[in-house]
Subunit: 248 residues, 5 copies
């Protein structure tokens, strides 16, 4: 049972990304410390059990978001495998005290607009710059849904809008990483946009730049929720929220 190749699945197309956002119920904090101490190991065992089918990233959101304490990003070539993992996760002690407050499913696809063929200069710009900041400590997940007017534009019109969208973002490639998932029909959103950064000021400027292009006029959902978290190991997320060293 070989674990999934992380680098490969993160760049492959046709891969499912399953974003599950959780809020821990207050009763969890009332459990005996021993139960909470054992929680991380039980969760890690579930991750280990599914390592040949899914990879799992974890983020701590407590203190940043009212509706969640943490979220998981699960990648799988077969969406049913992500369901199996998340079902097993929910059956752990920690998972069984976690309420799902948002859950979005998307799929990775080839670039639609800024391809070498359709938009050569911008495409080159996208691949010319790479992230040079210290390792990202923060991740942000922002769902995007577009209105009927957007979808009814011609491909040429949408290409033009995406070009205008892309130009001001190139300068942020050095301090913000991005990844896109397509969700139309799979969840109540069209896209899941995912970002990693170590520089939240730069990220704020990037998002303002994206607000300042005409594409923004076609958004019916942009955020709602905006989920900001610190990037952590799942072990660390569970332990931090389990607070197993305190007696209550």
């Amino acid at each position: 049972m070989a674990p999934i190749d992380r680098a490969k699945i993160l760049t492959d197309l046709g891969v499912f990304g399953d974003f599950a956002v959780y809020k821990l119920r207050p009763e969890y904090a009332m459990l005996p410390a021993a139960d909470r101490k054992a929680a991380a190991a039980e969760v890690l065992a579930v991750v280990e059990k599914h390592k040949d089918k899914v990879i799992v990233d974890a983020y701590l959101t407590r203190g940043f978001d009212a509706k969640s304490d943490y979220f998981l990003r699960v990648h799988a070539y077969d969406l049913a495998a992500a369901q199996k993992f998340l079902t097993d996760f929910r059956a752990t002690k920690f998972g069984s005290y976690s309420d799902v407050t948002e859950n979005l499913v998307g799929i990775t696809k080839a670039l639609n607009y800024i391809t070498k063929q359709k938009s050569e200069t911008l495409n080159a710009g996208l691949f010319a710059a790479t992230y040079t900041d210290p390792a990202p400590r923060y991740a942000i997940m922002i769902p995007v849904k577009k209105n009927a007017e957007w979808w009814n534009m011609t491909p040429e019109q949408r290409l033009k809008e995406i070009e205008v969208h892309t130009a001001p973002t190139l300068q942020y490639l050095v301090n913000v990483k991005r990844k896109l998932y397509h969700s139309t029909g799979l969840s109540d959103t069209d896209f899941i946009t995912y970002f990693e950064t170590n520089d939240l000021g730069a990220f704020n400027n990037l998002l303002i730049a994206l607000a300042q292009v005409p594409e923004n006029k076609y958004h019916v959902r942009w955020g709602n929720p905006t989920v900001l978290g610190t990037i952590q190991s799942i072990d660390s997320v569970v332990k931090t929220l389990s607070d197993a060293d305190r007696s209550m």
Copy 2:
């Protein structure tokens, strides 16, 4: 007491489809394993009891949707029979720990627009292609509600829009099955659209194609919720969520 003919009721007109979407309360996971072990058999007995009045399909949504863990699709010639089944279901141990988070009722009717008389070529297209992919593993339920402008168009205008809607969907008949229920006045939606597929990438493309036609401009509800699940036997859904083999 003969069971309902599944193939017949799934194609008959004037049949009620009752979609009940459930979220299991966390307390269920705290029940003794023996109780959870017995849950599936109790549910199956209720299905058996009503088999001459309703047929029941089940779907596991945990891991895909924040507001549900599973949903049931109940078909009946008499809507009161669906109510009786769902009331008995809610009285089982498993049902009594399930909260209903969405419940939509619709009725099947003859084709309104793409008939042989009104739109011969497209009608032929609808019946020329059939599903050829492996058996669908996924189902998606998407409610649709249209605005007053849509309903105030002439039948000819609506026919034209539905023709434009239908043309790009024909290519997906080979990998996506569809079924339509009419709900105006029965629930807070005009239609319940139901899909089965084994190819979620193709399904995502189909829904994007539907977003790209003018009809989309008349939607006031399209999804909300979009409920994606794996198609399973009700026995399997109950057992998976009952997790009866784990001690908590």
Copy 3:
């Protein structure tokens, strides 16, 4: 203490209709069977106690609506009497486990538009046809709220729109009964529309006909909730939801 004359209060003007929609809390199902067995009698005693002030109709919605299990329609000449009844009802065992999920108050008034004076032919049409189907088994409650543009039209313009609204509905008088309550300022709706039918397919067609007239463009609320239930005695509603014969 003479009971209210049901036929009279259902046709009198200036009568209050108080629609209270309830969801039973799951804890109710966990009560001892004896408690649940006694529930219906206790509720009936409350109805009996108030029979000189209010009449009460009951409807089972479980299996049709996510946000309710049943609703009550209370008619009274004095709204405070309806409050007294509903307060006593909530103090019963069954009522104390019921959460109110919607509660709308309206008052009956004389016809505004389709009077003999203003619209003679349609008025005649309204009174020419009567319900001829088997006794209705289903009731539907749909709140309606209109926008400022509607209310700012002249009475003549609104009359015209209501005439266009009324014409296509006449054919459904044989299979759908209707009753209207006025709610502006009493609840967050302008009207409560109430229907009874035995033919949900005809009802669906009636509501589509109402969607297809210009008046629909002035709706800011039409449904939300649409509450569909089976017409039952309150005794039957309580007993069905009390499920007193099962041991849990």
Copy 4:
């Protein structure tokens, strides 16, 4: 410690009105009857304790509104005094089982538009008529928020709209009492409108008249919630909801 002069504070300007709307948790009904019997006296003691700083009015909404059972209207010259009272109230047994479902704060100000200077005839009309019906048994609280277009009109334009608003309301002065609180920046509403009446039919007609003037086009919130209650002493409200004479 002299109690506040009720007549004076109800007509003074610069007075704070704090509307706190409550829903009793179902667990309250499960408390021992002795606890519920003692509840009213405990609440009255809190009112007595604060009588030199606040006056308190109480209203029973159970049976009229899904989201509340009662509401309090607290007047104070110093808003912090209203907070102190409401904090002490929430610390009573009855208050500790009450969830706040709406809470709006406003301040009384001099007439803005229909002054003797700006609109002499209507101003005279406002003061010419007085309430002549039997003592009001019902109160209605309706929040109002206006859109940016309204606020960006010139004072002269707003005066004109308020004149058109005022004219049709004069005839209802005999059967509806009114009071206005300003809330912009204090709560998510611009105004709290408060009414008392003994004639809900007349009140319904008044509100329809207000819907029929152009000012209605500038509303982004009008109601939501509309909270209708019977005017009662706080003692009566607590006792009615405590139902201390029944054994559960």
Copy 5:
């Protein structure tokens, strides 16, 4: 371990402001008085532990807002430090009975529009007046989100609108303090506006003045929630809500 310099962090740029709004669960009031008595000291210890990384302000909102009882404003140079503090706070007895109902993160930045270079006179006006009223007793937190049309205006157009916005606010500098945080991409809002005042009537007038400028037409969120509280020490907030002197 030197505590953060309060005056400096409150004026520095690039500082994170983390607003966490809480509602105490009713179960807290049922805890033994001894537990509630010890709560404030435990919270103060957490504040002390983090004093070299964050400063914490506290506000009591009970009695003013339905969705909260108090809120915290945490300033930090490193947002992860605010998360660590809030996570530790949630692990206290008091924090573990507190539900987060809103949580917004922003960052301080240099003035965008009313700079000495771009708008000299108004800039001088901003710095000419200072707060002269008695120490503020109230604080108000109001999130602001602007639409795509706003963000797509040229910087010159936005400057003009902000000038029109600023002019009428200068007169309130003597009785209302203000502070601005930028949130685009960090939370579901563009700005967090924060005010302190001792004169809520003046504050109401200031907010009406802000409603009366064209900038208001570009708001998609202004408030929702508007959170009004009294400025208190965190010790006082915890003690007031812990009500440790009463036996329940």
